[in-house]
Each structure stands twice: as C-alpha cells, then as structure tokens.
C-alpha cells in the first residue's frame, strides 16, 4: 500500500477504515430531540390524545394515567404534559437522570 498512487491510497484507506464507532447517542441528546419534536408537533396542532396512544398499545406514564382516567375532555388529554414534567428537565440535563417509572419516554431513552 505504501507505493500506491495517492488517489488509490486514499481509496484503499477509505474502503478499509470505517470512521464510525459504536458510541451511542447521549441520553440527554435523545431527550432534547424528543422534546423538540413533540414541541413542534404541538405547535402545528393538537397531539394525539393519550386515549389514542393507549389504543395503539403504547404504555403511558403514571402522570399520564392520572390525566387519562380523570373526568376531563379529550382536548385536555391532548396537551403536551411532558413540557411541564420534571422528568423532561432532568433528562435534558443529565446523562443518567434519576427517573425510573415506566411508560415515560425519557426513562426509556436511558435504557436504549
């Protein structure tokens, strides 16, 4: 390889050396991206209600369950609750946030 012309040398290096490593995305980056996406979704219209999420087989968190079973209209169940949840704040700022309950996306990002 040492005596290869430069063009061929680079092609050989590029073919043999994949630059990607297996380092996963930081938890707080995933949390920030999720928050940004849901914020954008909420800005462009109402979110799917928690009832719909459950109907699709999705798990909802303990706080969402409270809202979902409360005697409130579907419109309330479409609000972006994560925006005011301490789990979001912790997950966006810490790599291993102290949040543990099931059904919370921010907790799931820790596991993924």
């Amino acid at each position: 390889m040492a005596n290869l012309p430069e063009e061929q040398f680079m092609e050989t290096i590029a073919a043999q050396a994949e630059l990607r490593d297996a380092q996963p995305a930081p938890t707080n980056l995933k949390a920030k991206i999720y928050s940004a996406l849901v914020l954008r979704q909420a800005e462009s219209g109402v979110l799917a209600s928690l009832t719909e999420s459950r109907a699709r087989g999705q798990e909802i968190c303990i706080f969402e369950q409270l809202v979902q079973t409360a005697p409130v209209g579907e419109a309330v169940k479409c609000l972006n609750f994560c925006r005011v949840c301490h789990a979001r704040v912790l997950a966006e700022h810490f790599e291993n946030p102290p949040i543990y309950w099931s059904g919370c996306p921010y907790v799931q990002f820790k596991k993924s």
């Binding site: 390889m1 040492a2 005596n3 430069e6 063009e7 040398f9 680079m10 092609e11 290096i13 590029a14 043999q16 050396a17 994949e18 630059l19 990607r20 490593d21 297996a22 380092q23 996963p24 995305a25 930081p26 980056l29 995933k30 920030k32 991206i33 999720y34 940004a36 996406l37 849901v38 954008r40 979704q41 909420a42 219209g45 109402v46 979110l47 799917a48 719909e52 999420s53 699709r56 087989g57 999705q58 798990e59 909802i60 972006n80 994560c82 996306p105 799931q108 990002f109 596991k111 993924s112």
Partner: protein
Amino acid sequence: MHQLRQQAFGGSEEPNPSTSDDLSLVAAVLSKDRKATAEFVARFADGLYAYVRSRLTPRCDEVDDLVQEIFLAAWANLSRYQGSGPLQAWVMGIARHKIEDYYRARLRVLDPIEDNDHDHSASAVVPELHRALERDELRTKTKSVLASLPESYRLALIWRYWEQASAREMAIKTGKTEKAIERLLARARAEFRERWNYGQSA
C-alpha cells in the same frame, strides 16, 4: 406493544424492521402520537449520532445540533416516506444531505491551504508500517490523521472518499471549479499521506 428500541445503522447483526412496521410508525408519528415519536427517536438516534460524529470529528461540538436538525428535517418530511425502502435508509439519506450541506457551507468559507514546502515526492518511498495494522488500528490511525489535518483538507477527503462524492459534485455544491476541488483534493491527499507515513506533526 411498541417497544422503544435501538438500532444501529449499517450493522448487519440486526435485520431491518419490515416496511409495514416502518409505515405504521410513520403513520403514528404523523398523527402526533407522542409515544410513537419517542420510538422514532429511540430507533434512529444512536445510528445517526454515530454517523454524524464520524463525519464531523474532531468538531464534536457541532454533532448534537446537527443530529437534532436531521431529526427535525426527517419529521418535517415524513409524509413523503412511501415505504419503498426501509425507514432507516430514508432517514440516513436525509442525514447524508445534511452532512453535505455542512461540508458545502464549511468549504465555502474555509480558505484552501496553499501548497507548502513539503516534498511530496518523498511519500513514494515510505515505511510500510501500516501493513501490519489490524482493522481497529487502521481505523484509529485514520481518524487520528484526519483529525490532525486542516479542516478544509479533512472535509474534502471525507466527502470525496467516505461519502464518495465526485469532484464534479463537490465543485457544483461548493460553487468552486472542478479544477479547484481537484487541487484541494491533491493537496489534502498528499498531506494525509505524509502525516500517515511520518506522523501527524508533518
């Protein structure tokens, strides 16, 4: 039940999710199902992050912003996904365009480095140290040499040889002439090889 899951791009260990699975995820995200949105992030974040990081190293301070930008662009265009291929490849296509945009913007503002006094002909006779390099060592050394290069050289080489853009494409996208890109690549290759052979302080 949908489960959040992680899937790395480019890995052959895991099978691609079926297109119907992709389509149902896309439909759920488009209906603004927040749980599906979380799954969307969890499924692609690690692979995208690894890809972007590898293409921007050592400028890792910009990786997070670019990954987030890719996700926002993917979400904004999600209705265009028709299921003709894996969602993973579709998202990766958006990532490639974003990386190209990044290279284009950077190469437009960076001054190409003029030829220096290095005697590049010396590269023709070099120690064959790399012959014994294992794949990991090769990768480590390649990343290290790339990281040591001036930014314009590094971006040009990654764009040309790892992203496999032609000099013509690079010229069109950066608004430079093909000859200018060829000259930039020639200098970058020579510098890469010199640092590869003789150490990064060359």
